[in-house]
């Protein structure tokens, strides 16, 4: 279960060996990224690409768009580079065929099965308030959270659209993970006691949370957050963003609540559960 990429899937199924995977990754090193290809094709300089990459840390946009926006590339150039990339980029499956680790027929069959398996994790678009940095990543994070509440915890949920909030209220358990690198934010999941217990019984496959130590019950919320956020980093890397996460921690929110930290914009997504319980996802995005 969970988001995964194709090479991992092939290893898990025993289709390819670890050595074949490493050889195929070596083979793929000849693939050029958009910026490198644009330089190789003589459209831009390395300096222009470096500047665009630096801007990309704040602006959630593909590198081609940023190079067009600063006048370094035209739309025609972008099309030409993308076409050359499509023609020359070797995907992991192709690399494995080229090194003889699998056949074309095997590849096609495995791709179809992989696509089917990953379909539940394909992200739909979640609307975010305007002007949230790296909106694409956080929209994806919210969507993945909702999906994993259903897929991992077995809880039917109905999330509300996200809205900017100045107040984070206390709750029984608030678990937090910090994102850093290509996109910076604190991810908080706030749950009442009943939902905390539901999470624990789901993850630990218990009939009841009664008698379980508080530490274990609260830890299960942290572990769920860890699972979701780990999967977010995978999807973010598929979107071209290299982000890291901290291990989860539990937050103590004062009785009167607390605001986002300086330099953050907090977006709240209330999540209603079918049985009447509520939880809240809050993503405090660094501006």
């Amino acid at each position: 279960m969970g988001v995964k990429f194709f090479g991992q899937y092939l290893q898990e199924c025993g289709i390819i060996s670890r050595d074949s995977y490493i050889k195929a990754k070596e083979f793929q090193k000849q693939n050029l990224r958009f910026g490198e290809l644009a330089v190789a094709m003589g459209f831009v300089t390395e300096k222009q690409v470096t500047e665009a990459l630096n801007r990309q840390r704040c602006d959630d946009a593909p590198i081609g768009e940023l190079l067009v926006a600063c006048g370094a590339l035209t739309a025609d150039h972008v099309r030409a580079v993308k076409l050359r990339q499509d023609e020359t980029t070797i995907q992991i499956g192709e690399a494995l065929v080229l090194i003889g680790a699998m056949t074309v027929v095997q590849l096609q069959k495995c791709l179809a099965e992989f696509t089917h398996e990953q379909a539940p994790y394909r992200t739909d678009h979640v609307e975010l308030p305007e002007n949230v940095p790296n909106g694409r990543i956080w929209s994806m994070a919210a969507d993945l959270t909702f999906k994993m509440v259903t897929r991992v915890l077995g809880l039917t949920c109905c999330p509300e659209p996200g809205f900017v909030t100045e107040l984070i209220l206390p709750n029984d358990t608030v678990a937090m993970v910090r994102f850093s690198g290509g996109a910076n934010a604190r991810y908080l999941l706030s749950v009442p006691r009943t939902v905390r217990d539901r999470i624990a019984t789901s993850l630990l496959q218990l009939d009841t949370a009664e008698g379980e130590p508080l530490e274990v019950l609260q830890d299960s919320v942290g572990e769920f957050v860890n699972i979701v956020c780990g999967n977010v980093t995978v999807k973010a890397s598929q979107l071209g963003k290299d982000v890291q996460i901290s291990p989860p921690v539990l937050l103590e929110i004062p009785e009167q609540g607390m605001g986002p930290q300086a330099g953050e914009k907090a977006v709240s997504f209330p999540i209603h559960l079918e049985d009447g319980g509520d939880m809240e996802l809050i993503i405090c995005v660094c501006e």
Partner: protein
């Protein structure tokens, strides 16, 4: 009966893996560590056959722990079970450091047992 050391900062993940190992019939859990530092201490104490390792941990993460185990030139088999394990960079590093299998969280019991038995 083969011995397993579980390394994960999450009590929940430890409980999940202990339950899976206990129900396997051919593996027994000899200890659980909450970070890489504890894992190394327990490794030297218990000499497990297999280590189930998380990656994203405080104090000493899974990749650093894996690197240390490899430096010992020991033949302990490591199965990585992590929410970040399936990121391309982490995955490749784990595999290059000799992880026999890398599973994504949440990993179901069947996948874990298959990994333990086939490493």
């Amino acid at each position: 009966m083969q011995t397993v050391l579980i390394v994960d900062d999450s009590l929940t993940a430890i409980r999940q893996l202990e339950t899976i190992v206990k129900g396997s019939g051919d593996f027994v859990c000899v200890g659980a560590a909450r970070n890489g530092v504890e894992a190394i201490r327990l490794y030297h104490e218990k000499h497990p056959d297999v280590v189930c390792m998380d990656l994203n941990m405080p104090e000493m993460d899974g990749l650093a722990t894996l690197r240390y185990l490899r430096s010992l030139a020991c033949d302990v088999r490591v199965v990585v079970i992590s929410s970040v394990g399936c990121r391309d960079g982490w995955y490749l590093q784990a595999v290059e450091l000799g992880a026999a299998r890398v599973l994504s969280k949440p990993a179901d019991a069947g996948m874990v047992l298959k990994a333990l038995r086939n490493v």
